[in-house]
């Protein structure tokens, strides 16, 4: 039985996979039709006909993960690392009967590489679907508080 705790635990586990660079385990959390979305506009509605920083399916996420380990991926020499500091997720919907599971999590994200350290603040909105008796990520949406600012390289996943 999916409960609110199931959702929160999954969000914590996702952050842990990212922080410990278990990329394949992270990808495995996604539903085959899942998407990772970083909008470029305030309260953006459309990921396709409005500009986004990222709107990627599993194929493109696999490309990113595989690239991180590539022998000729020079922007990963040295490698980046990341840290997620999450507030307790707010469960927006937990409706097993309808199969709708949504949460919103406020967090601070840090990405480092060599001597550089960049810090970002924002909210993750997760939508899950139930597959078997587990939840899979249907959509992870990352809204940065300063989505419109000019960032340098963001190479890992928020």
């Amino acid at each position: 039985m999916i409960t609110e705790k199931t959702i929160a635990d999954l969000i914590y586990r996702e952050a842990e996979f990212l922080d410990t660079m278990q990329w394949q385990a992270w990808l495995d959390l996604f539903h085959p039709e899942g998407r990772y979305w970083m909008p470029l506009e305030w309260q953006q509605q459309d990921p396709v006909l409005q500009p986004s920083l990222m709107y990627e399916d599993l194929l493109l996420l696999k490309v990113r993960v595989e690239r991180l380990a590539g022998e000729r991926t020079f922007s990963q020499k040295p490698k980046s690392r990341c840290h997620h500091l999450l507030q307790a997720p707010r469960i927006v919907t937990c409706d097993p009967a309808a199969g709708v599971f949504k949460a919103r999590t406020s967090y601070i994200y840090t990405e480092t590489r060599g001597d550089m350290l960049e810090r970002y603040s924002g909210w993750a909105s997760h939508e899950f679907v139930e597959v078997g008796d587990a939840l899979k990520i249907k959509l992870k949406r990352v809204d940065l508080v300063n989505f419109d600012a000019p960032f340098g390289n963001i190479q890992l996943f928020m």
Binding site: V48, P51, L59
Partner: protein
Amino acid sequence: MAKYGRNAHAVAALVRDAEVHRDVYVDPEVFELEMEHLFPNSWVYVGHASQLAKPGDFITANIGRQPVLASRHSDGSIHVFYNRCPHKGVKIASEPCGNTGKFFRCPYHAWSFKTDGSLLAIPLKKGYEGTGFGDTQANGGLSKVRNVVIYRDFIFARLSDNGVSFEDYFGESLSTIDNMVDRSPEGKLAVVATPIRYMHTCNWKMLVENQTDTCHPMVAHESSAGTAVKVWKREQGCSTETPMAVQLYGPFMSPYEFYEQSGIRIWPNGHGHTGVANSIHSNYSDIPGYLDQMVAAHGETRVHEILGEVRHNTVYFPNIMVKGAVQILRNFIPIAVDRTLVESWVYRLVGAPDKLYERALMYNRFINAPTSIVGHDDLEMYERAQEGLKSNGNQWVNLRRLYESNEEQNVTAVINGTSERQMRNQFHAWAKFMTMDMDKHIEAAE
């Protein structure tokens, strides 16, 4: 230590026939001189008229480092001003765009100006009576940028009063803008969203040069485009249709021979483009309905001319790049000698199917975003160059690929697509627009 100020000979000597001195990328004094001479002497992109659809609409931009403001006046005309109040210098508009209504009002002392820049009102105006205010520049309102040309809705400005005319400056290079606009069934482009912004810790010219550097994609982008091709081959299963995403990434891995035969065209004053015969944009899938719309609008023959021209990157000297086939303009905005803000704009082809706009937006985030893996590859190279150029072991950057000893400057030519001639062309123009008014400044100072 000032080496280059008021010294046109020293500046010109930074550019040899097929080499440039590293100071053009790393010396803060050279950067200051670019702000003082190169950008004011050049025609610089300010924005697009569709961003100023209604009277009172405004946009802000920088030319070099100088803030400017463009507005749509009540009679429909477009004006460009220096973005400062004539009173104390406060920026009149601080947002990227907006609508000011019937007039601009300075937030500091409420001086107000019509949208053609003329002075409308000053509180307690009688305090200026008998002070000689009428003879000051302030009485004229917002200082106007006098040399403004709007070409097919693209707004360009030259800050210097004297210099090369718009027509002579761009010449035949405007054909890339023509082609992009002609790709709309209604002959019209529209900016409908904000650009993707990406901060680069490198000199702005490294980005401009990279636009026509066709010997780097298969090397530097092996990590991104190469991986995309590899993962797709493995994962495609029995798919018969290549997804739009893979169509966009794949051609970056084209071999040297592809780029060699696709060619480069150079024009006078530092403009030029890759992809003359064909380009990495040539083999995208047709978008249903688009061709029919175009034929209805332009006729069969003309449509084949328009869509048959699939240029890759067109550099408009000094600091923009236009991609007609995917309706993108990248603006390489200099912030400091080692800092460049890149704003990548997508234009919507008015009247064309949504799918074309979707593809342009996808290309923009794949290639031009701070989250772009192709962008990561490139920025890593620029940053390493910015560091490496501090080395004294060799003070010159080599641009000699396919150089011919009798190579003509300031001409139109079509050449092998792996030539570095467009980079040489840019630096020839760089020396010209840097030094063209330096002697006059010296005379004025003496």
